[in-house]
Structures are given as C-alpha cells and as structure tokens.
C-alpha cells in the first residue's frame, strides 16, 4: 500500500464524475480506480489500448512507467500464451503487432541458429498449408450462392443450403461405390451388353417416367445384374458379392457420416446447452447476424429478435402459470390432449391405410383399367398429398393442446416426420408383399420401379410447384400488389422445417431404393443438383425471409437427426426385403443378383468356405459368443471409466464455481474497502484537486501526483 502511494501514477477520472464517484457509497465496485489495476482486469483489458506502444494505439491509459507494473501483473499463463501465439491471433492493432514481431525477432536472434531456422521453416510450412487450404476451399461449388443467400436471409437459411450441398456430396460418394463395385465389373464383363441396351421399336419416351420397357431392361434396375460373373477366377470376387458389398458399404458409410455430423452438433447444443442453460444469453450475445447487408433484412432480423425474446419471456411466464394450474384444470387438459392424440393416431392410421390400399390397388389392378401415367403415379401422388394435408391439420391440432409455442412447433414437426417416414415405409411394405398380377415379373425390378417413380414424382412436383405456384404468385404480388388476389397471395416465406423434411424424404427414398435400383444415387445426384437450382430460384426470386427465427446449429442437429431416422428406415427395409427373399414367401420370382436359389446368406457362406483355413477360423472366432463376451466386458469397463471421470469432473466444476464466487466476493470487498480508505485520505485534498481541474478545464485526464 505504502509503496503504491509513493509512486507517481496517472489515472483516468472523468471530471464530471469525480465528485459523485468518490462521494457516494453506491458506486459500483468496478468503477473504482483500484479495479482498473487488478491483474485479472489488466489481463482482459483491451490489449490494443495498452500503453506498450508509443503511437496512436495508446488510447486512454497510463504512461510508460505503469507499463512495467502492468506487464508485471500479467498472469504467467497469459504471458506464455502471448509469446507463442501467431501474431495474427493477438487482439492488437497492426502497429502493435508490428512491434511485437520486432520484439520476437530480437528474441529469435538470441536463440541459436538452428532453432531460429526451425521456427522460420515452421512459419513457412504453416503459410503453405494455409494457401493450400484456401485453394481447396475455392473449389467448393456454390460458395458464392451461399454467400448471397446468407447476406439476404441470414444463417438459418444458409444452414439449409449447406445441408443440401452435404447431401449432394454424399450422393456423389455413393456414385463412386456404385461405379467401382457394381457398374464397372458388370459392364466390362457381361457379354452382349449392347444388345440389351438397344432402343427397341416398342419402347417409348414415356418409359423414362414409368420405369418400364427400355428402362426395365437397362442397367438402372437390379434385374440387369442377374448373371453371376466371377472375376479373375477368385471365389469371393463375384459380381453378386460385389453388389451386396457396394450396397452395404453405402449404408454403413452414410451411417458413419450422418452420426458424426449429428453428434458434433449435438455435443454443442444439447449436452453443453442443457447443463448450463444459457438460452437468453445466446440470444443476446450471439443474436445479431453481422453478415446481413440488406437494410430490409436488418429490420426483419430486428423484428425476429424482438419476437423471439418476447416469445421466450412469454414462455417463462407460461411455465409459471403452468405451475399454478389447479387439479381440475389439469385433468381437463390431459383429457383434451388424450382425445387429440387419439385423433392424430386415427388420422395417421387412416393415411397409412389409404397409402396401402392405393398401392395395392394399382399393383393388382385388372387389365380393364387403362395403363396410363395417372394410374402409374397414383401412389406417389397419394403419399405426397397426404403429406401435404396432414401437417397442416397437425399444426391446427397442436394449437388446441395448450402447449408453449416452441413445443407446439416441435410437436408438429415430430408428427410430420413420423408421418413422412412411416408412409414411405408403408409404401415399401405394400410394394413388397402385394401379390403380383403377373408372376413372371421380376420382384426387385417392380420395387425398384415403384421407388424410381416416387423419386421422379418428387422432383416433378418441386419443379411444377416452383413454376406454376411460387413464381406466378410472386408475379401477381409484384404487378398488382393492391388487387384482391395480390393481397390474398401475400408474401411468400421459405419454410425451412418443411423444406428440410422434403429433402430428408428425398434422401430416404434414394437409400431405400439403392438395392433394387443401383443407379439411383446417380439419378439422385442429378435430381438434387437440379433441385438446388430450383430452390435457389425460389428463395432469391420469390421469397421473403421467414418470420420465425431459425438457429443454424440447433436446426442442423435436427436436420441430421431426421436424416439418421431416414437411414435407419432404409436399412430396416433392406433387411426386411432380404429376409423375405430368404423365406421365399408368396412364391414370387426373384431376379436380382441373387436368383436361382442363391441368397445372400449362402453366397457369403460359400465365399467363406473358399478362404484359407486361418482366415476362416479367425472369422468364426470373431462371430462367436466367445469373442462377444470379452468385447462386451471391455466396453463396459471403458464406459464405466468415462462415466466416473465425468462425475469427478462435474464435482470439480461445482467446486471451482463456488471458489470463483467466493474469490470474486473477496475481491469486491477488498476493492470497496480500498476505495473507502482512499476517500478518507483524499478528502482534505479535494480543494487542491478542484484547483487542478480548473487549470485544465478541457482535459478529461487529471493527473494526481501524490508524494507522501
């Protein structure tokens, strides 16, 4: 204390606040002068304004003497970090960085030749890597489009398009597998391939929509890969086995990729978010989207934030009200919810029955019905219309259930996802089990055709709705904004959740069909790319941003989670189909790669038998119970250790938090105490201080030199 007093130091006091700050007890502790000199505050103080630099970077504090005092106070860890970090990662102005780099060079010249050479080399290496990364990221397609969309509509919509691009990549990856493992061997080795691929007289262009005739013979469907060809005369290198390997690797690869993306997002939002509930702080501190350039978009964003905050506060009050509900009200509410849920279930089952019935009917329709495009596309049409109507009904229903707003939206979304995926499942199931009108038809091809049509139909619908609905509506609204129709049309919003649902639906169809229609990933890639441009057109040309705030990360977890559900559905349908084939029920003719009595299980078994005995033995061991038991035990041990580590960390966190609160209150106490003492001492000198301020009425920095 005494030492400090004998020192000359400058400090910053606003002239106006001198009196009030010092005389009132109510002043906050962080406004006292000692607070500015606390090491912790110094460490986090804007480094840019520290007086280490003589030039303009010096903004408001101190003179050169106090610098030593300050750097001396820098916590050790901080100083170490500062000296190893790359210069650009320091929060300094350029001039300060320049000086820091000079200082570092001085240090470098002190150390040995090799060390400095090594450091220089590592800097160069880093720069080369950075350049390479830049060049590679320039190759990413649609970077510019995403940037434009982000500027106009914010991060939420960009997340949708990034998800879109991710799906395109995924499908491209699938294409590589398909080409390498299925298409390549078959095309090169299969005899008379050009004969099969020839366009015959009775083939028409409509075949491309119906998946029949020419397309039915071509390499699009599984029937083409019927013949088993052995490569290089090795038992395990057969086209059938390669076929199943390609399909399985596609599914497993997708599983790994999707799970990885989901968990990364999940870790961020839920695991961390739940324990430390920071909802409101996020919305405030990370609320503004600095990428917005458009003034309208900025106004819109402001209103999002306002509505969102109001909503959140309202929800808080809602939960308070909820806690105060009486028993009678609760009983009535639960009864209502029960009835509404029954209604939802009956609607769902009605929808499923309709899909099942329609698919069944189109497959066994008697020949009197004209075989035209309408009947061919009846079941995709039914599914699409059910999926169009029911979510709206669900939205209306959830309004009655007296949930908070977010729960309402989520519950609608969950019900819609369930509807979408389950209707796909039902569609597939009815394709698989309904008896064929013609026993000679190939089952795999029939299923493949159904899914192919579904895919084409989805695309056509997107295309038509953009061309005949979104665009005319926009034109109407633009040309005649005051007319009745124009007002009725209103502004269009891009509903992210439902668009994502559509995408997930599309990808699920692609996964489901890949076994029966191996060229589907290729077709899917083309369709996705085209859809990307259609959606871009809709967004940029026809839409204004959505009213509801959509947070990028939360939504991307949700997107990937839905995708995961779709993948699981696709995998289970494949398993079901293989199982059905093995049972050989309703004696259909199977014509895929596994025909003439050969099924997946015995094909792999035959392959196994041809392996050398050591490999056979090890595979047998890996699949036996003797291996499973130790594996499970090891997993249990690892999991237990992680759980206990987590608990220990949790306890440590709690203790540290307590310590933090404690030390902070100590700090506050000491600072206040110090301020009081200082005030008592200074009181007699007040007059003198006033005189100095009179001498420099313009200056805000008052120098006190205190010499005891």
């Amino acid at each position: 204390m005494e030492e400090h007093n004998s020192e000359n130091f400058l400090r910053l006091i606003s002239v106006e606040s001198t009196g009030s700050t010092l005389s009132s007890d109510s002043c906050e502790y962080y406004q006292t002068e000692i607070f500015d000199q606390l090491p912790s505050v110094q460490a986090s103080r804007p480094v840019q304004n520290r007086p280490t630099l003589v030039e303009p970077c010096e903004a408001y504090q101190g003179g050169p003497e106090s610098e030593e005092l300050r750097t001396g106070h820098l916590p050790r860890g901080q100083r170490d970090k500062v000296s190893v970090q790359p210069l650009k990662q320091l929060a300094l102005c350029i001039q300060a960085k320049r000086e820091a780099s000079e200082r570092r060079k001085m240090q470098l010249s002190n150390i040995g030749f090799w060390e400095s050479w090594w450091k220089n080399q590592s800097i160069k290496r880093k720069r080369a890597w950075a350049q390479m990364g830049e060049a590679l990221s320039g190759l990413l397609p649609w970077q510019h489009t995403l940037h434009v969309i982000e500027g106009k509509f914010g991060v939420g919509l960009k997340a949708y398009f990034v998800f879109f691009r991710y799906l395109v990549y995924l499908n491209l990856l699938h294409c590589i597998f398909i080409c390498g493992l299925i298409l390549g061997p078959t095309v090169f080795l299969k005899p008379n391939i050009s004969e099969l691929m020839k366009f015959r007289g009775n083939d028409s262009i409509l075949d491309f929509f119906r998946g029949s005739g020419y397309l039915n013979r071509s390499l699009v469907f599984a029937g083409f890969y019927k013949q088993n060809i052995r490569l290089l005369n090795i038992r395990c290198l057969e086209t059938t086995l390669l076929y199943i390997a390609a399909i399985l690797s596609i599914l497993i690869l997708s599983l790994i990729m999707v799970v990885r993306r989901t968990t990364v997002g999940y870790k961020h939002t839920w695991v961390l978010g739940k324990r430390y509930n920071m909802n409101m702080s996020y919305k405030i501190f990370c609320g503004w989207d600095f990428t917005i350039k458009d003034p309208d978009a900025a106004i819109l964003k402001s209103s999002f934030i306002r509505n969102d905050l109001k909503l959140l506060l309202e929800e808080q009050r809602f939960s308070l009200r909820e806690a105060q509900r009486t028993l009678g009200q609760k009983v009535r509410l639960y009864l209502l919810r029960f009835i509404l849920n029954m209604l939802v279930i009956s609607l769902l089952s009605g929808a499923f029955f309709l899909i099942f019935f329609v698919t069944d009917w189109t497959l066994i329709k008697d020949n009197s019905l004209p075989e035209n495009l309408f009947t061919e596309y009846l079941s995709p049409f039914t599914i699409a219309s059910v999926n169009l109507v029911l979510p709206e009904i669900f939205r209306k229903i959830s309004a009655f259930e007296d949930y908070s707003f977010t729960t309402q939206v989520n519950i609608t979304l969950v019900r819609s996802i369930f509807l979408k995926l389950a209707s796909l499942g039902f569609f597939f199931y009815s394709l698989l089990i309904s008896p064929k009108k013609d026993k000679r038809l190939c089952t795999e091809n029939e299923i493949g055709r159904g899914i192919y049509k579904m895919c084409i139909f989805n695309f056509l619908m997107t295309f038509c709705s953009a061309l005949f609905f979104n665009y005319p509506r926009k034109l109407l609204q633009e040309r005649y904004p005051t007319s009745f129709l124009g007002r009725l049309a209103g502004k269009q919003r891009f509903q992210i959740p439902f668009n994502v649902l559509e995408l997930v639906n599309c990808q699920t169809v692609l996964w489901m069909g890949v076994y029966n229609c191996p060229l589907l990933p290729l077709i899917g890639t083309v369709i996705l790319v085209a859809t990307f441009y259609i959606k871009k057109f809709i967004v940029l040309r026809c839409c204004v941003a959505e009213q509801r705030l959509f947070r990028g990360s939360n939504s991307s977890v949700l997107f990937h989670f839905m995708l995961l559900l779709g993948l699981l559905l696709a995998a289970s349908t494949l398993a079901f189909q293989l199982y059905e084939t093995e049972l050989g029920t309703n004696n259909m003719s199977y014509c895929g790669p596994f025909d003439n009595g050969q099924i997946v299980f015995n094909a792999t078994a035959e392959c196994m038998n041809s392996l050398p005995s050591a490999a056979q033995k090890s595979i047998h061991y890996l699949t036996s119970e003797a291996f499973a038991l130790p594996l499970i035990l090891a997993e249990i041990i690892i999991l237990t250790s992680y759980v206990s580590r987590r608990q220990a960390n949790q306890r440590a966190i709690e203790r540290l938090k307590d310590m933090l609160v404690m030390s902070s209150s100590d700090k506050r106490f000491l600072v206040k105490q110090h301020a009081t003492i200082l005030r008592r001492r200074r009181n007699p000198r007040r007059v003198c201080a006033a005189a100095t301020t009179d001498d420099h009425p313009l200056s805000h920095e008052v120098t006190f030199s205190r010499i005891n």
């Binding site: 502790y29 990662q89 702080s281 458009d294 990360s553 933090l660 609160v661 030390s663 700090k667």
Partner: protein, 191 residues
Amino acid sequence: MGSSTSHLSKENVSEYQELTFLTKQEILLAYKRFMELYEDKKNPPDPRVSRVSLDKIVKLPELQSNPFRERICHVFSTSELKDGSLSFEDFLDLLSAFSDSATLEIKSHYAFRIFDFDDDGTLDRNDLEKLVNRLTGETDDTRLTKDEMGQLISNILEESDIDKDGTVNLSEFQHVISRSPDFVSSFKIVL
C-alpha cells in the same frame, strides 16, 4: 513503406498477410474500397496515419444496416481524438477480426468490446440494456417494455454471471460464446 505510391507495395501486402487473417485478394480489395472512401485524391494516403471519418465508414453497404456500426468503428479506431475514424490499418484490423478465418478467441474479444458501450471493461446492466435496445430496434414501439427488459436482464445475469458480481466480464462472456457454434459464422463481415 509504400505509402508514396497509390498502390500497396508487395512488402506491405505480405506484411499485412502475416499480421491479419486476410488473404492477398482480400487485402487488395480492402485497399480499393478504402481508396473509394478516401477524400484527398491528390495525396495518396499513408496506411497508418491518413484517416477516413466515421460518417463515411458507416455508409459502407456492409455496415450500413448494422446496429453496432458506430461501436465497431470506435473499437477499431486508433485515433487519438476518439472520433471513430479509421486509418487503412485500422480498417484491415476490422476486416481481419470479422473475416472467415479469425479465431473464436479474437472474435469474442472484439464482440465484447463492441458490446461494452461505456468502455469500462465489463458489461453491466446499462450496457446490456443498450445492447438489447440495439438488437430489437431503438424506436419506442420496437423496444421491450420496462418489465420485459428487467426480466430479460436478470435472466441474462442469472445465466452468465458466474461469479455473481452483477456484471458480465470478458471471461464470462467468452464462456457463453464458446458454447455457441453459431457465433463464428454470424460474426462476420466480408467485403
């Protein structure tokens, strides 16, 4: 220094590349944009000293609809007059902090300073209130009501004021930010 020519010298560019998160193209583009704002066409600017006033900077399309535009200029300005005017190097600092490749550490540091309206090193109730008002819009009918504001601010402090001293300091702020994966992608200004 290449201040005597109207173009940036090669050494200057590579030095800036070293000291900021910007690429060569970005630096050159920034220079072009800065020159468009710079008034004194006869004398080419010295990147350290010559300044462009705050009024002109905030009219940049990238900043014009940003509610924090004046604060951003004040934070990055090294002017002794504290008028928020930017030299070319300050401008580069700004773009570097808001660039794609800047780290979370840097971004959160500057975000904190932008939100710290009275420059006292902590976000207290007044800062938070100003911040919320900027976010929701400053006119009377867009503001939150007094009750809502009170409820909101006590919620924020409840959540992020870990040491319970009534303010949010830099480390507490960074603690919140580090849990938001959205922040890095939205705290971004690209020319």
